[in-house]
Symmetry: C2
Subunit: 498 residues, 2 copies
């Protein structure tokens, strides 16, 4: 037996256990490689990876230290008597090896893999292997099995609601923050919409990043239910809800690896929505040569996959393939995107028309989940709600209820990227624009990003500004500047034929 | 600027940097995911992953802590002034993503990947992704590029030797410790053989594990050169030599994942031999339904690959496909295998005949690298050296020179696995035998393992012992026992036709 010690180290999602080299209970000398242990004494065993300490100030020979993640999980006071055994290899890792070898796994295997990930029996290396191996090919049934497994045990129930709606976008198009506008319109209409959002994985800003410029996005299940009851809408970072825990761990590894695989993304989105108790979901798949989904063929395949999974798991899905050939709106990065969103909601004259129209189109389809609404009337209902100011009113209520945020400053290190030619903007490369925005600091600082002053089809004179880079610190600013000169992401047609 | 602190934590191959939540030099609040940093102040920047600490006893707000691995690498005293920046993403990770997407990488890309791994710019997750992605398919040119990259900068030179020989086995057949016998024969003959060996990755015992039962296996380059000069042979754990550093890091991840992919293994073996300055190499590929290489077709493909890489990198290779249908020798696990090896060298009557014959066959081919020796005479020369006792004499000199080890005890928790039928042993499943041995503790304790009393073709009576399990602790013993009853790994032919 050893005495529990909290070693106050935050390791970002991996449980670590610290034992002294001269541990009184275990022979540590034999341990020369990464070793998984099982710690007993709490309600359930806690899995952790062993680190060997040679300083009694950290842990004494009769102590077992746990990092913050593991200490929270074991939920015992310091000094509690605990013991440790070598963790037997998780059986489901054999399925991961089968997947690496190119096999098709069954639903039971996906269930076991996802459960073992949720209970932290996998190292980040194991998770990375699973993601790369399953990412290389999965059958439709496998994606269904993965989705079902990732829903998990904890599902939010909306006992007093007939239908619960949501909207989600597959991403890959910078600036595309229709979700916030849609939530305001749908809430004003009166359908319950608990919009589950996430922080950015590989983009300049996720919906949760952008909305957190306006209001708090972390809340527990009770608060979410209360807010949706009172305001009909809320925008929540799903990480703050006790759902889809395996997905959160997997997302951490995906973020680190910079991996986004479409089938995984589909499973992840659908699992989160089902765990959030959503019954009807509009999905936006932007397709374009520099978007995440490159072709309409690929988008159509993805649509069929989502429709199949939706049907099998009793989720009403309405999938829309949209124009993903250039960024949506002008701002890229949380503060600038929030500015665009509020311009649309306030019916400002300089509100980005593409963001407004796309939001109305998708909101209209969400509204049509209401059996009371006549088919084809969704768009007009949405437009009326936006134009009348009722959407803005709903948004203000939501912001107030979630706690108005102290709006962060826009980064004041700026540079205007000017056109070297006169002509018409022929194309804007999403991936390049996203990369420059990320380098400018957008994925880390809400105030960083790009402000696009020209969009596809706009006339531009030589020396006129195409877009403006905003950074909040000089390192990021230098990074972005060092890259942008190679290729701005804009193509200018100088021939006048478009 | 922060003050360097050594946080005496051993994390098994990953560099970790510890900063306090209230760090005076960096805003740590923004950090919510695994983050790679670059630490400046030493001769070269050191890469590490950030962990956030909330206890000033571990690190103070004006300190930057490094774990033992990173502290060794930065090579500065505690208190030294150091600074930290976010590490830009290693460019070569883009190549890893290209490999994940199914592309063929060029030699420059493999070089960059391997260099970045060696300088610890990759997380273990990144390495796992690379291994799984490249493991799914590589062209012959890619394996060549990977091999060449993994040789690294530090190559051992044998200035006074015309040829330097070695032998290596692809593994997958328990008990197969010909290497030690071959080294003794070759050394007695007089060819220089610095046998580079490794600890077990997924097996009961690697050559380094087994030989460390007899003598020390860790030495630096100078000592290795001195020993080979004096005794013509040495058996060294390559981890103790300053060569092939990327390979060591990769092997750590492979061990954790339990992955062994044949093309990776070929690249790894050949890179280590080339870095060790070997000029001529015999390779043993055991093939059999339960070996690592399942078919002779697969073995032949591997042979051609190795011959191609050998030719391109000026390494003389002589590849032999051998019978891998059952374990070689009787003992499995370091102590039992060392016993078999010494029985063969001592020409004991009960020495395992298969181990003896296979060692002579392969040693003969190593000897034939000597231009002085007439073709076809290698086997007879090897046999004469073994029978005359000169191999034993050479072995004793090598053991003495490397430092005789205090021989560990054979595990005294034993169980005899008996045959439930009378008949003839028809087959022994290598994978099953290896698994039972590993569960019995063989990969962790030299004294654990299996002693095979019957081999394929042996007659067996009902109730007679097939093999004996040895464990050194009761947990392992229970594990092995819980599994062995399901399937012993032996098939008995009761019909008398074989």
């Amino acid at each position: 037996m050893l005495n529990l010690k909290h070693v106050a180290i935050n390791s970002f999602n991996e449980n670590l256990a610290y034992v002294h080299r001269d541990c009184t209970a275990y022979r540590v000398d034999d341990i020369t490689t990464l070793t998984k242990v099982e710690i007993h004494g709490g309600v359930k065993p806690v899995y952790a990876f062993l680190q060997v300490v040679e300083d009694t100030a950290l842990v004494k020979p009769d102590e077992l230290g746990l990092n913050t993640e593991a200490f929270k999980q074991i939920n015992l006071p310091e000094g509690a008597n605990i013991s440790m055994t070598l963790a037997p290899q998780a059986q489901s890792l054999l399925s991961v090896k089968r997947k690496i070898a190119g096999n098709i796994l069954n639903a039971g295997e996906y269930d076991a893999i996802v459960n073992d990930i949720a209970s932290k029996r996998y190292s980040n290396m194991d998770i990375a292997s699973f993601l790369v191996a399953s990412g290389s090919f999965m059958t439709t049934s496998e994606v269904l099995a993965l989705t079902e497994a990732m829903i998990g045990e904890d599902v939010i129930r909306w006992d007093n609601e007939e239908i619960v709606v949501d909207h989600h976008c597959f991403g890959g198009v910078p600036g595309n923050k229709t979700d916030i506008i849609i939530t305001a319109i749908v809430a004003a209409y009166g359908l319950p919409m608990p919009k589950t959002a996430a922080r950015s994985l590989t983009s300049c800003a996720g919906v949760a990043d952008t909305f957190s410029v306006l209001a708090g996005v972390d809340m527990d299940e009770d608060k979410l239910k209360k807010l949706v009851k009172e305001n009909r809408g809320a925008i929540v970072d799903y990480n703050s809800l006790p759902i889809a825990s395996a997905n959160k761990i997997i997302a951490g590894v995906e973020r680190h690896l910079g991996l986004t695989q479409l089938q995984h993304l589909a499973a992840s989105i659908l699992a989160i929505k089902l765990a959030a108790g959503v019954t009807h979901l509009v999905i936006d798949i932007p397709a374009g040569p520099s978007a995440r989904v490159k072709t309409t063929t690929e988008a159509m395949r993805l649509r069929k996959l989502i429709e199949y999974i939706g049907d099998m798991l009793s989720l009403g899905v309405d999938v829309h393939i949209t124009d993903g050939r250039e960024p949506i709106g002008n701002g890229i990065g949380a503060v600038l995107e929030a500015r665009d969103v509020m311009k649309v909601l306030r019916n400002k004259e300089d509100a980005p028309e593409d963001l407004r129209e796309k939001s109305l189109y998708l909101a209209g389809h969400v509204l049509e989940f209401d059996p009371q609404l006549r088919g084809g009337q969704g768009y007009f209902a949405a437009r009326e709600i936006l134009n009348s100011g009722r959407a803005l009113e709903a948004m203000n209520k939501i912001i107030y209820a979630q706690g108005k945020a102290p709006q962060p400053q826009l980064g004041n290190l700026t540079r205007d990227i000017v056109s070297t030619q006169s002509g018409v903007v022929e194309s804007i490369n999403n991936e390049r624009i996203n990369k420059i925005g990320v380098l400018a600091g957008a994925s880390q600082y809400p105030g960083a990003g790009l402000d696009l002053l020209k969009k596809v089809g706009d006339k531009v004179e030589q020396g006129e500004t195409l877009y403006r880079i905003h950074s909040v610190n000089s390192t990021d600013f230098a990074f972005a500047n060092s890259v942008v000169d190679g290729y701005t992401g804009y193509e200018i047609n100088t021939k006048g034929t478009f």
